[in-house]
Amino acid sequence: MTAATNAAGFPILSLITWLPLVGCLVMMMVRGDEATVASNARWTALWTSLLVFVLSLVLWVRYDPSEAGFQFNEQVAWLPEYKVGYSMGVDGISILFVLLSTLLTPICILSAWEVIQTRVREFMMSFLILETMMVGMFAATDFVVFYVFFEGVLVPMYLIIGVWGGPRRVYSAIKFFLFTLTGSVLLLLALIAMWLQAGTTDIAVLLHTTFPAGMQNWLFLGMFASFAVKLPMWPVHTWLPDAHVEAPTAGSVILAGVLLKMGAYGFLRFSVPMLPEASAVFAPFMFTLSVVAVIYTSLVALAQEDMKKLIAYSSIAHMGVVTIGIFTFNVQGISGALFQMLSHGIVSAALFLVVGVIYDRIHTHEIARFGGLGDRMPSYALVFMVFMMATNGLPGTSGFVGEFLVMIGALQVNFWLALLGGMGMILGAAYMVYLYRRIIFGRITRDDLRHILDLSPREWAVFAPLIVLTLWMGIYPSSFSNYFDATVGAMVQQHAAALGGASKLAGILPAAGGITP
């Protein structure tokens, strides 16, 4: 289907990736007093990111969902003597994440419109650079290019947390940087080992390269170090609550919306398809960590006094569900994981925006400072309700589809896995409803809340697309799952074939190939 991919003959993925940097250049050239520069930076950033989003819709329209492989391929020689090329392409796994990144960036820029008053230009530049890194990472089809973008994300995010963050921003920024870097460098070693083994870093080739079983285990551990920190999995999750609490709202949104998906994306793109035997060996280990994450972080979330921390811990729990889904190695599990990632990308991003709305007015995340907001802010209460229900997995919202599919997938592996993983849904409902009650219901007792204003038109503009998407994904999920069905199907088949008659997985494999909805 190459005719349908790059028919126009222009490198659409590179354009989406690098266009934000052009926006940065424009901003750098503006001269004038601070107010001019700031307003110019805001508009340039918004228009650039909107343009990028519109361009990325071309992918949405022109992508051929029946094809499992990479589409919109681009290839330029980069380090020819090492057989490393700057190559780009999207398949069913990555295309929706590219869209998620391009969607959330303008929303973040819009949400930071009035809040960020210091060094506006630098803030907007950081966001556009971050967009380049995120899109480049999801669109890269070369391992080295992927790695470059994967680590490159650290730089703008470090600055966003550290410059525009809360009181403990320095500690959080450095912790974020060092945690993720430690994991990443071990991924680099795994990358180099695979590179030398396969002689190339083209992901499409690596996907069909068989690595020796002994080597696979080490490679898996190297990748695990990186992706588990990024995801984050228990017990290396501790950077996330700190980073979330201190980051400015827009930073939290992109962190929860896209950056957390990078780890899961790494597992799906590299660990599972390239190292099938090691993945099977480590699956019980991954399940254990995921179940612990789901239950432990949900309980921790229940006890939080800080709204952002609560949502941060709930993110870890939700990502635990994602890893359960990925390592079931069946169509339902992996599709569910992907759907859950997308849903979480939208819903948790929206929840951080919801917190941001009242933070902008009262300047605190402390739950006890609020109460009875429903009286003064009815629209806000409604928006909050939608996303609270979505994160709980209420049927009809996006959260339901992903969790439901993961549970189906998990049931085929092990009843207890499904049961314990499903505990997250119950506990999630508990802490979210409890949070909602404390913030929205009751009577207003604080004086400063008596004059709090409801959502402004700008805030409606931020929330409207997210609400639409949440409901759309919940009511008609196949318009999204359609994109990754073929790719996931091919991946599961290949995984089963790679394991062949491996007896240790006899219980899982028939189910993986057999049940198709």
């Binding site: 060094r119 470059v148 600055l159 921003r169 920024a173 430690t182 460098v185 080992a193 030398l196």
Partner: protein, 473 residues
């Protein structure tokens, strides 16, 4: 006797002497002019290096090949960048004398001779010429106690290292009967010729060279000399002499003693690991940015030595690429450090950088690029330097080196990003004085190289490959 092979060195020496005469005869201050002439001399020498033919000269004492050309060009670049940096600095610090560029020039001649040495005696002569000029340069701010201390310290310790090197050379000569690098290589192909005395000699030679690249445990002089010397001299110390000494290590170990790799590889591995560890951990507690850079350079030499420890053509290529990237990012960082001046006085505490991000966004951005690059964060050149090195070491199964290397780079990242934290997250301190254009030029040029190396790495890598192939014919 093919003396034209040494034409770049000869021409550069003649230019140096001419500048000396010119400086003495001219009555007014001629620092600016002699610096310009020196930089012109570097350019001419560079062109001559690029255009000369390959071969042996002076009865095998001197060699011109892609390997020596690669290193000589890099040495000249480092020296030229340092001379430009020195222009304004020496004037404002009141140490502007026309001898300064001349000393740099002669030191550079010594380094070029080192890079082109194919005989242990040539090697020694080149190194002494380099060191003699460096002693004076380190103590050039003669009214400053720290500078005098730096000069003296470097003189004493470097003299000791030279003695060790000379002793090693005499042992090698005594047990093999030759000082010619090619002859040594042919001799040592037969393992029975590798007598214990010769191996001891090799160790001494290695110690002498390790001192010059400031690898642990021969690094003790580095922080004090870096801190005490005038900053342009620090920039010079951190770039050109490192390249010269590293090229000698590669040539001597990689060709002459290549057959004895089993004997010296473990030493290089230990020195490399020790340098990486010390460079990473000792830098954490530093408050002076110049001392920080000293420990950083120790760490970087540890990474570069991995390429030697690997002992393959890929490893040597990795080291050469590493040196190129290292020279440019280090020169740029020291350029930024030189911009740290308040009311005409140089300040060099890390805390003095506070709020640079809002006081001088351009300088802060350049410094951030260098810091991320030194830390090895992708898209900056420093990442590619490490990538080539780790690639070579994993290829040869040296996993210990690779794992320690990546982990120490995380520790190193801690103090590099702390500098960025001070610049961007801390409340602004008093502004720095306006930057002189010469300094902005160096910072911009090296910053562009560091930030955009990823766009076109192929030429540098190809040149390094050609140079590395010479050693593994």
């Amino acid at each position: 006797m093919n003396w034209t092979l040494a034409l770049p060195e000869i021409v550069l020496s003649c230019i140096g002497m001419a500048i000396l005469v010119f400086g003495v005869l001219r009555k007014q201050d001629s620092t600016l002019l002699s610096t310009m002439f020196t930089i012109g001399g570097f350019l001419i020498a560079g062109l001559l290096v690029l255009t000369r033919t390959s071969g042996f000269g002076f009865h095998g004492q001197f060699v011109a090949d892609p390997f020596s050309a690669f290193n000589q060009i890099l040495i000249l670049s480092g020296a030229a960048l340092s001379s430009i940096l020195a222009l304004d600095w020496n004037r404002t610090q009141g140490i502007a004398r026309f001898e300064f560029p001349v000393l740099m020039l002669f030191s550079t001649v010594g380094m070029m001779i080192m890079a082109g040495a194919s005989n242990l005696m040539t090697l020694y002569l080149g190194m002494e010429l380099m060191s003699l000029a460096l002693y004076v340069l380190a103590a050039f701010a003669r009214d400053d106690l720290r500078s005098s201390e730096a000069g003296l310290k470097y003189f004493v310790l470097s003299g000791l290292a030279s003695g060790l090197l000379l002793y090693g050379i005499s042992l090698v000569y005594g047990f093999s009967g030759t000082m010619d690098l090619t002859a040594l290589r042919e001799l040592l192909v037969q393992p029975e010729n590798a007598s214990p005395g010769l191996v001891v000699g090799i160790v001494f030679v290695m110690v002498g060279l390790a001192f010059k690249v400031s690898a642990v445990p021969f690094h003790m002089w580095t922080p004090d000399v870096y801190e005490g010397s005038p900053t342009p001299v620090t920039a010079f110390f951190a770039t050109a002499p490192k390249v010269a000494a590293m090229s000698l290590l590669l040539r001597v170990m990689g060709t002459s003693f290549a057959s004895l790799v089993g004997a010296w590889q473990i030493l290089v591995v230990i020195v490399s690991i020790a340098s990486m560890l010390l460079g990473a951990f000792a830098a954490i507690g530093q408050t002076s940015i110049k001392r920080l850079m000293a420990y950083s350079s120790i760490g970087h030499m540890g990474y570069a030595l991995i390429g030697l420890a690997v002992g393959t053509s890929d490893g040597v290529r990795g080291t050469l690429v590493y040196m190129v990237i290292y020279v440019f990012m280090t020169a740029g960082t020291l350029g930024c450090i030189m911009a740290m001046r308040r009311n005409g006085r140089a300040v060099e505490q890390i805390a003095d950088l506070a709020g640079l991000g809002s006081n001088d966004p351009a300088l802060a951005m350049a410094m951030a690029v260098f810091m991320f690059s030194l830390a090895g964060i992708p898209l900056m050149s420093g990442f590619f330097a490490k990538l080539y090195i780790f690639l070579a070491s994993v290829q040869q199964g040296l996993w210990t080196l690779a794992i320690i290397g990546v982990l120490t780079s995380v520790v190193g990242a801690f103090y590099y990003i702390r500098v960025i934290k001070v610049m961007y997250f801390d409340p602004p301190a008093q502004r720095f004085d306006p930057r002189p254009p010469s300094l902005s030029f160096v910072v911009a040029a090296t910053g562009l190289f560091t930030g955009f190396f990823f766009l076109l790495p192929a030429p540098v890598v190809a040149a390094a490959q050609a140079a590395a192939n010479v050693l593994f014919r």
